[in-house]
Symmetry: C2
Subunit: 642 residues, 2 copies
C-alpha cells in the first residue's frame, strides 16, 4: 500500500514523535544516595501495603501510642463506634457459626485422635484472641480438617494415640505452640510472602493427597489387620495390605461395611464430655526428649498450611467486601491465638473457609461474631455438655466424610489442567508426593516445581520479533498479530523478562540465532541486507551486571557484523546501570529511543535519506529529531511495502 491510499497516514508524526520543542530522550535517573535507595527498596519489599501510614499521621506521643495499639489490636478501631444494630447482626451470625462450630469441633478433634472436648476448647479461647487482634471482619476461627488430619498422621507416626493418649495430647499442644511461634514470627519479620509460595495449585493437590492418605489408613480397621505399617505412603500401605492377605478378616470387612451402612442409618452415642471451660496446659508443653522434634516438625507444617488457608480466606472476604487487611498483622494475630490456645488446652486453629462463609452469609459485621460464638461455646462447655452425650456419631461421621470428599477437589484440578499445565503439574506433584511419599515430600515437591517455573521464566525468557501493525505507529509481536509486518533492513526484537545472570548466555545465543535466521531469510529472498537490530527493552524490568555485560558484548559483536544496535524504551533501572557501567557511552545515547516507532523512524531515515552517513550516527540522528514529519512518512511508506 502506498501513502496515497491512506491519506490519514500522512500526518501522524506530531503525536508519535516529540516535536522539536520537546526533544524527549530516555533520561538517566538522577543519582540517589545508597542508603535512601536501599531504604525505599526495603520499604517496598517488606511494607508494600504501607501499614504504618496511620502511625505517621498521628501527632503527639499519646496519639502515637494509640495508633500503635490500634495497629496491634484492630478491635480498638471498631469497638468505639460499635452499636446495637451491628451487634444484632453479629449476634445472629455468631449463634449460627456456634451451631456449626460445636459438631465440627468435636468431629475434627476425633479426626486428630484427640479428646472430643478439645474441639470445643479450641472454639472458645482462640476466637476471643482473634477478635482482639484480627483485622478481618468475616473470618470465623476454628479447627480445620486438613490440620487435624496432618496432626493425626504426623504425630501418630511416632506416638500411638491409643497407647499413650496423654503424651500424644501433650505433643499436640506443643505442635500448636510451635505453629503459633512460627506464624507470629513470620508476621513480625514481615516474611508473610513465604505463605504466597504455597500456591492455590499446591493447596489443591496437597489437601487431596492428605485426604487420600487418611482414607488409606482406614484400611487397617476395615480389614482387621493386626500389623500395619506406620508409614503413610501408598506403597507401604499396599505392601502391608497385600503381604497379609492370609490375615484379611472377611468378617471384619463385612462388619466394616455393615457398620458403615449402619452408621448411615442409625445413631451412636458419643461418650463422656468433661464439663467446664478450658483447663490450663502450660505445664503440658514438651520441650525436651525424643518427641520434641516431631512436635516441631508437625507444628511448622500444620502451622504454615493453616496460615495459608486462613490468610487466603481473610483476603478473599476483604476483597469481596472491599476493606483492607494487613497480611503480616493477620499472621501475628493467628500466631498469638495459637500460642495462647496451646497454653489453654486447644489445638491448631485458623480461619476455615466453610465456617467463614457461613459467618459471611449470616450477615456478620465485625469480629464480634467470633466473641458471640466463643460465649455460646463457653455456655455449652459449662452447662450443656450432658446434652452432647446424645450427639449422634453419624452426624460426626457425616461431617468427616463431607470434609474428606470436600478436600478432594477434582474440579479444581481439571480447571488447572485446562488453564495452565504447569499449575496442574504442581498440583499433581503435591498429590502424588503426599500419597506416594510423605506430607513433607509432597509440599517440597510442589514448591520446588512452582519455583522452577519461576526460574525457568527468567532462565529462558521469550524473545519475539516485532512488526508494524498496518496504518499505525504500533509495533507488536509478529507471532501474536498475524497482520504485523516486518520493516526492511531492521530486525526488532523484544525481550520479555529481566536480563539476569541466569539468562544472559541464553539471550546471547538466542539473539544471534534470530539475526542469523533473519539474514538467511533476507538472502534467500534477495531482499535488502539487515542493517539495524532494535532491542525493545520495554518489558525488561530489571538487569544485573551480567545483563549489562551482555548488552556491551552484543553491541561489539553487532558492530563486527556491520549492524547497528538500537535500544528502545529502556526502564529507569536499565538506564541507571547502563550509565554507571559506562556502557551507555559505548552504545551512544543517540541510539536509545523512547519508543520502537521512533527507533524505526530513525533507522529508516538513515537507510534512505543519508545512507553514507550511517556510520557516524550521532550527527545525523540529531537531524532526525528536527525532521520528524519526513522521517515518519518514510517509515510508513516503507513499513507497508515490506
Amino acid at each position: 500500500m502506498g501513502i496515497t491510499e491512506h491519506p490519514g497516514a500522512v500526518f501522524p508524526s506530531a503525536t508519535a514523535i516529540p516535536s522539536p520543542e520537546f526533544p524527549l530522550r530516555v533520561p538517566v535517573p538522577p543519582h540517589r544516595p545508597f542508603a535512601e535507595a536501599l531504604g525505599a527498596n526495603l520499604k517496598e519489599t517488606f511494607f508494600p501495603d504501607d501499614p504504618l501510614r496511620q502511625l505517621r499521621q498521628a501527632r503527639g506521643p499519646r496519639r502515637r501510642l494509640l495508633a500503635v495499639l490500634a495497629y496491634l489490636f484492630p478491635v480498638l478501631n471498631w469497638a468505639p463506634s460499635y452499636d446495637l444494630s451491628l451487634f444484632r447482626s453479629d449476634l445472629v451470625a455468631g449463634i449460627t457459626i456456634a451451631s456449626l462450630a460445636i459438631p465440627q469441633g468435636i468431629s475434627y478433634a476425633k479426626l486428630a485422635n484427640l479428646p472430643a472436648v478439645m474441639g470445643l476448647y479450641s472454639s472458645f479461647v482462640p476466637p476471643l484472641v482473634y477478635a482482639m487482634m484480627g483485622s478481618s471482619k468475616d473470618l470465623a476461627v476454628g479447627t480445620v480438617a486438613v490440620a487435624s488430619l496432618l496432626t493425626a498422621s504426623m504425630l501418630g507416626k511416632e506416638v500411638s494415640p491409643a497407647q499413650y493418649p496423654t503424651l500424644y495430647m501433650h505433643l499436640a499442644f506443643t505442635a500448636t505452640f510451635f505453629a503459633g511461634v512460627l506464624q507470629a514470627s513470620l508476621g513480625l519479620l514481615r516474611l508473610g510472602f513465604i505463605v504466597d509460595f504455597l500456591s492455590h495449585a499446591t493447596i489443591v493437590g496437597f489437601m487431596a493427597g492428605a485426604a487420600t492418605v487418611v482414607c488409606l489408613q482406614q484400611l487397617k480397621g476395615m480389614l482387621g489387620l493386626p500389623h500395619f505399617t506406620t508409614a503413610t505412603d501408598l506403597v507401604s500401605v499396599m505392601e502391608s495390605v497385600f503381604s497379609q492377605t492370609h490375615q484379611w478378616k472377611w468378617e471384619s470387612v463385612v462388619l466394616g461395611c455393615c457398620f458403615l451402612f449402619f452408621l448411615l442409618l442409625t445413631r451412636y452415642l458419643i461418650g463422656h464430655l468433661t464439663k467446664g471451660i478450658n483447663p490450663l496446659s502450660v505445664s503440658n508443653l514438651v520441650f525436651t526428649g525424643p518427641y520434641m522434634m516431631v512436635a516441631l516438625k508437625t507444628g511448622f507444617i500444620t502451622g504454615i498450611i493453616a496460615l495459608a488457608e486462613g490468610i487466603a480466606v481473610g483476603r478473599s472476604f476483604a476483597m469481596f467486601k472491599n476493606y483492607h487487611i494487613d497480611g503480616n498483622n493477620e499472621m501475628i494475630a493467628f500466631g498469638t491465638m495459637n500460642i495462647v490456645g496451646s497454653l489453654t488446652s486447644c489445638y491448631l486453629t485458623t480461619g476455615p473457609f466453610s465456617r467463614s462463609a457461613v459467618n459471611y452469609n449470616a450477615g456478620c459485621k465485625t469480629a464480634m461474631s467470633n466473641v458471640v460464638m466463643a460465649i455460646a461455646v463457653m455456655i455449652t462447655l459449662l452447662f450443656l455438655t450432658p446434652l452432647f452425650h446424645y450427639t449422634p456419631l453419624v452426624v460426626l461421621s457425616a461431617i468427616i466424610i463431607a470434609a474428606m470428599v470436600g478436600l478432594i477437589n477434582y474440579e479444581a484440578a481439571i480447571h488447572l489442567w485446562q488453564v495452565d499445565k504447569i499449575d496442574f503439574c504442581v498440583c499433581m506433584g503435591a498429590y502424588l508426593g503426599v500419597v506416594l511419599g510423605s506430607v513433607e515430600i509432597g509440599l517440597v515437591l510442589a514448591v520446588v516445581i512452582s519455583l522452577l517455573r519461576v526460574l525457568l521464566f527468567v532462565a529462558r525468557p521469550r524473545t519475539t520479533a516485532l512488526g508494524n501493525l498496518p496504518n499505525s505507529m504500533t509495533y507488536r509481536r509478529m507471532d501474536q498479530y498475524s497482520m504485523a509486518q516486518s520493516v526492511a533492513g531492521v530486525l526488532i526484537l523484544r525481550v520479555d523478562a529481566p536480563i539476569y545472570f541466569a539468562n544472559a548466555s541464553y539471550l546471547r545465543e538466542r539473539i544471534s540465532r534470530w539475526i542469523d535466521e533473519e539474514e538467511e531469510k533476507l538472502q534467500s529472498n534477495g531482499e535488502t541486507n539487515l542493517e539495524y537490530v532494535i532491542l525493545d527493552l520495554g518489558a525488561v524490568g530489571s538487569i544485573d551486571t551480567s545483563g549489562i555485560g551482555l548488552l556491551e558484548e552484543l553491541k561489539k559483536s553487532l558492530e563486527r557484523r556491520c549492524l547497528q544496535m538500537v535500544l528502545a524504551n529502556p526502564g529507569s533501572e536499565v538506564m541507571k546501570k547502563l550509565d554507571k557501567s559506562k556502557v551507555l557511552e559505548a552504545i551512544g545515547q543517540q541510539w536509545i529511543f523512547l519508543t520502537v516507532a521512533e527507533a524505526v523512524a530513525a533507522c529508516n531515515f538513515m537507510l534512505h535519506a543519508c545512507k553514507p552517513a550511517a556510520s557516524n550516527g550521532a550527527n545525523s540522528i540529531a537531524d532526525v529529531t528536527a525532521t520528524t514529519d519526513h522521517q515518519v512518512i518514510m517509515h510508513d511508506d516503507h513499513g507497508n511495502i515490506v
Copy 2:
C-alpha cells in the same frame, strides 16, 4: 494547553487507532494441541540454539550419519578444508601456548599437591580430545589455578598428600573422572543452563575466597606449627594459630621470610621428572571405600567451577570472532576430555582464560593449535624432561603468586558495587562463605542469594503509574519521565513482571493501595472522581492460574467500587489463559485494547461523550471504534488540561 496551541495534535488518530476497516482487537491465539505446544516449549527450553538444524537439512541415511558425527566431532567440519596457511597460524599459536603450558602445568600440579609431571600429562591427552570434540576455535586446554587449589584443599582435608601421596593421587584421578561424568551428563541432558546460575559475581567472589584460603594455609609452614587444623575457614585457622602462640617458631618465621626473599633472588632445582608419556591410570580409580565420597564431592564442585570457566571463555571468544559454539556440546567435549584424562594420569582440565587469550593473540585459527601444543608437550615428555631438572622453582613460585594475586580481582568487586549492589552481595557472599565457612558454603550462599534476587523480582514486581507524554500518544512511567501527565478520571498502572502465585497477593494489595492513594489525592484536590483503572500488561510475559484469579477478583472488586477495569496490550499467553478460564468473558473483550493510548481514548470517550451509557459498556465501545477521530481529540484535549 488547548487544542488550538498544537494544531498538529488534531489528526493523530488514523495511525494510532485502527481505522474502521481494520478494527484491530487483541486476538485470542488459536488452539494448539497439547502435544504440539509442549514439544515447542521443550524445544525452546532445551534446544534454544537449534543445534539439530544441519541434521534436519541432511537427506539420506549416509548424510544424516555424517551430520551426527559432525555434530559430535566438530573436527569433521573444519578438517576437510584445512590448509597450510591455517596450519602456519595454528603452529605459531600452538608453540606459543606450549611454552606457557609447560611451566604453568608444573606449577599448578604443585599447587594441587600432585607430582609435577602430572601437569604435563594434563597438557597432552585432554587437548587432543578437545581438538576432536570441541567447537571453540580459540580455547586452549589446560589445568587452572582455582581447580588445583580446590583439589588440594578438599582432598587434602581427608587424605594428607605428604603421608599418602599415592592414595591422594588416585583420589585426584577419581575426582577428575566424576567431574568429567558430571560435565558430560549436563551436556547430554541439555542441562547446561545450570552453569549459568554461577554468575560472574559468584565466580569473582569464589575465586578470591579460594585464593585467600590457600594463603591462610601457608601460615602453618611459615610459623612452623606442629598441629594445624584440617578445616579451611578463617576462624579455625586463626584459632589454630593463636591457640599455639607458645609453639610459634620465630626461627621458622624468619626462615620463611628469608626463604621467600631468597626465592625471589635465586633459583632452586625442581627434582626428578619421569620421562615418557602418560601412563594409564584406569586401575587407579577409587570407587569404593571411605574416600570415594570425598572424591565425588571434589569432582562435582571442581567440575562445575571448571565448566563455568571453560564455557564462559569459549563463549566470549566465539562472540568476539562472531562464530557459534553450542554450550551443551562443549560440555560433552569437556566431560569426555576429563573422563579420558582421568584414565591417562591427568587431573582436571578446562579452558583457562589466560592461556586461551594467549592462543587468540598468537593468531590461532582452529582447535589445531591444541594439537600442536599437545605434540610439543609430548616431545617434552619423551625427550626434554631432563632439561626441566633445571627449571627454576622461583619461576613456578612467580606463576603461583601471580595466579593467586590474579584470583583476587578487587577491581571487579568495586565495579559490581558501583553498578549493582545485589551482585556485590552475591560476590561477598561467595567470598565470605569460602573464607569463613567452606568452599561448598560459599558456593551455595552465592547461588542462593542470586536465586533470591530472581525470586524477589517475581515476588515483588514493580507497579508504576503511567502518564501521557505531552503531544504524543505515548504513555510512560511517571516516576521515570517527569513530564508525563496523568489523565483525569483514569488510573493507568503497569505491572513489570509475570503474574504468578508468588506475587498475586502482593499485587492485589499494591493495586488497591494505588487506587486508594489516587482517590485520596483526587478527593483532597477536589478533582474528577476516578472511573477507570487501566492495567498495562505489556510487560506481563507470563501468567498462571493464581494470576488469572487475581484479575478476576480485581475485576469484581473494582466493580463494587464502581470502577471499570480495562486491560491494555496483553500478550498471547495472557489472552489464551483469560479465554480458557472464561475470565475473558467476565472482563469483556470490549475492555481489552491493543495499546494504552486506545484504552485511554475509549475511557475518555465514555467519560465525556456518553457518560450515561458508561454502565452498559459493550455497545458504546463499539461506537468508539467507528468515531476514532472524535475520541482522540477529546483525549488529547483532556490529557493536556489535566
